[in-house]
C-alpha cells in the first residue's frame, strides 16, 4: 500500500525540494528526510520524501544478484 518512486533531488529550499525522474518533475516535501543533498535519490510517496535511497546498498544488492550464476 504504498506507491513511492525514487526521484532525484534537483533543488532544495527549506522543507521543499524539486525532484525528478526521467523527465518528470514536481515539488516534494522533504521534512521527513534530513541531511539531503542535490543529486540524492529519495522515495517519494504522496508528495513526501519518506526515505533516502542508499546508493551503496543498491549497488551491493545488484552486485549480489549479478554474482548469482544460473
Amino acid at each position: 500500500m504504498c506507491l513511492a518512486i525514487p526521484m532525484r533531488i534537483v533543488s532544495l529550499e527549506g522543507g521543499e525540494a524539486v525532484v525528478e525522474q526521467s523527465g518528470v518533475s514536481r515539488r516534494a516535501r522533504v521534512d521527513l528526510v534530513p541531511d539531503l543533498t542535490v543529486g540524492d535519490y529519495v522515495l517519494v510517496h504522496a508528495g513526501f520524501a519518506i526515505a533516502k535511497v542508499q546508493e551503496e546498498e543498491a549497488i551491493e544488492t545488484l552486485a549480489l544478484l549479478q554474482e548469482m550464476s544460473f
Partner: protein, 362 residues
C-alpha cells in the same frame, strides 16, 4: 528509470526464478500484506514464475479495502453537504459505501477532488475559505507521516476551514491479529517495503519471534519480490524465523525517526475496526485532542458508528484474512466486477479481487 529498471531486468528475473527452483522449497504459503505488492505480483505475473508448491496469498494490505463501510458512508455524507469540498486520493473514488460512492456523489454535484498529496488538500482549503475542505486520510504507516505534517501545518497557520477524516491503520498489530486468530497456516510474510521505511525492520521482531514466522521486508519490483521469496524459501528450509531485509536500499533497522515523530505529534493509537476482520486493538490512528479542531469527526459531530454488515454473499472478509481466494467467492466475476463492485476488494485498484480480475488470477 534509475533505481527502478535495474530491478525489472529480465535476465535477473530469470536467474532468481532458477535459484528459487534450485532451492527446492517445500510446500509453503507466503502472505503479502501490501496492496502495492498485490498489484505488482499481478502486473508481472509473479505467481506463474514460482514453482507450484510456493503459494502467494494476499492479506489485509489494502487500506481502502479494510476501511469500514461506516466510515465511507460518513465521509460520503460530508461530501453530499453543500458548502463542503472533499479531497481524496484517487484510490477512494469508486469504493462503494452501503449506498453510494464518491464518484456517484460527484455525479450528483458533490465537490469531490482527487489529489496526489495531502498538501494539495490543504491548499484547496486555503484557496477557498468560503467552504469547508475535508481530507480523507486513508493509508498505513507510509502515508500517515505526510498527513500528520499537513495537519500540523494547518494548525500552525490556523487554516480555519480544513479538517481531516482520519482512518489510518497500522500493519504490525494486524499481523499479530492474523496469527492469533484462526488464520490459515502462513509459512512466511512478504512485508511491505515502504511501510518499513517508516517503522524499520525492528518493528517486526516480535512477529518472527513470538509466532515463529519467517519475515522478509521486500521492495516492489519483480527482482525484489523474487529475491524476497528466495530468502523466505531458505528460511523455511533451514527452520529459521527471522526478520530479513531485502529492501536494504531503502529500509533501515530503526526506520524513519522524523516520520515517527511527526505521527506521534498529532496522532495517537486507538482500537480500530478492519472491514472483514473486526476490531484489532491499537491498530489505528486517531487525531489527538489538542488537534480536535482539525478532526472532521469533532468538527462535524460524527460519533461512534454501528458496524455495517457485508453485503450478502460477499467474501471480502475471508479474502482479506487470506482464508479465501477471489475465485472462491460466488460473486467474483459475475455479480461482482470492477464496473459493479459488491465489496471493496473488487473496486480498489489494489484490492485482491480487482488485481485477480485485472491480471487473470493464477
Amino acid at each position: 528509470m534509475r533505481h527502478i529498471d535495474e530491478y525489472r531486468d529480465p535476465e535477473q528475473v530469470r536467474k532468481l526464478v532458477a535459484a528459487i527452483r534450485e532451492a527446492s522449497p517445500p510446500p509453503m504459503t507466503i502472505m503479502e500484506v501490501c496492496g502495492t505488492h498485490t498489484m505488482a505480483v499481478g502486473r508481472y505475473g509473479i505467481r506463474q514464475l514460482l514453482p507450484q508448491q510456493v503459494r502467494l496469498i494476499s492479506g489485509p494490505g489494502c487500506p481502502v479495502c479494510v476501511t469500514p463501510q461506516s466510515d465511507i458512508d460518513a465521509f460520503l455524507g460530508l461530501a453530499a453537504r453543500p458548502g463542503v469540498t472533499v479531497t481524496t486520493f484517487g484510490d477512494m473514488l469508486r469504493v462503494p459505501g452501503s449506498k453510494s460512492s464518491l464518484e456517484a456523489e460527484r455525479a450528483r454535484g458533490a465537490d469531490v477532488r482527487i489529489v496526489y498529496s495531502p498538501t494539495d488538500g490543504l491548499e484547496t482549503a486555503r484557496r477557498n475559505l468560503a467552504k469547508e475542505t475535508v481530507f480523507f486520510g486513508v493509508g498505513f504507516e507510509t502515508t500517515a507521516p505526510g498527513v500528520a505534517l499537513t495537519l500540523a501545518a494547518a494548525a500552525r497557520e490556523n487554516v480555519p476551514n480544513f479538517s481531516l477524516y482520519c482512518v489510518h491503520k497500522l500493519i504490525p498489530p494486524a499481523l499479530s491479529a492474523l496469527l492469533s486468530g484462526e488464520a490459515p497456516a502462513v509459512d512466511g510474510f512478504l512485508l511491505p517495503g515502504h511501510v518499513s521505511t517508516i517503522i524499520g525492520t525492528s518493528a517486526y521482531e516480535p512477529i518472527a519471534r513470538d509466532f515463529h514466522v519467517p519475515c522478509v521486508i521486500s521492495g516492489f519490483e519483480p527482482v525484489d519480490i523474487l529475491q524476497s521469496v528466495l530468502m523466505l524459501a531458505r528460511q523455511v528450509k533451514e527452520g529459521r524465523a527471522e526478520v530479513e531485509n531485502q529492501y536494504r536500499r531503502a529500509v533501515t533497522p530503526n526506520g524513519n525517526f522524523a516520520a515517527q515523530q511527526a505521527v506521534e505529534a498529532v496522532f495517537e493509537p486507538c482500537d480500530s475496526s478492519w472491514r472483514g476482520i473486526g476490531v484489532i486493538p491499537a491498530s489505528g490512528l486517531k487525531v489527538r485532542q489538542e488537534y480536535e479542531a482539525y478532526d472532521a469527526l469533532h468538527r462535524f459531530g460524527i460519533s461512534e458508528m454501528a458496524e455495517i454488515p457485508e453485503p450478502a454473499g460477499c467474501l471480502c472478509g475471508e479474502v482479506l484474512k487470506g482464508r479465501a481466494r477471489p475465485a472462491d467467492c460466488p460473486l467474483f466475476g459475475s455479480s461482482c466486477t470492477p464496473a459493479e463492485p459488491v465489496g471493496p476488494c473488487m473496486v480498489s485498484s489494489e484490492g485482491t479481487c480487482a488485481a485477480w480480475y485485472h491480471y487473470g488470477g493464477e
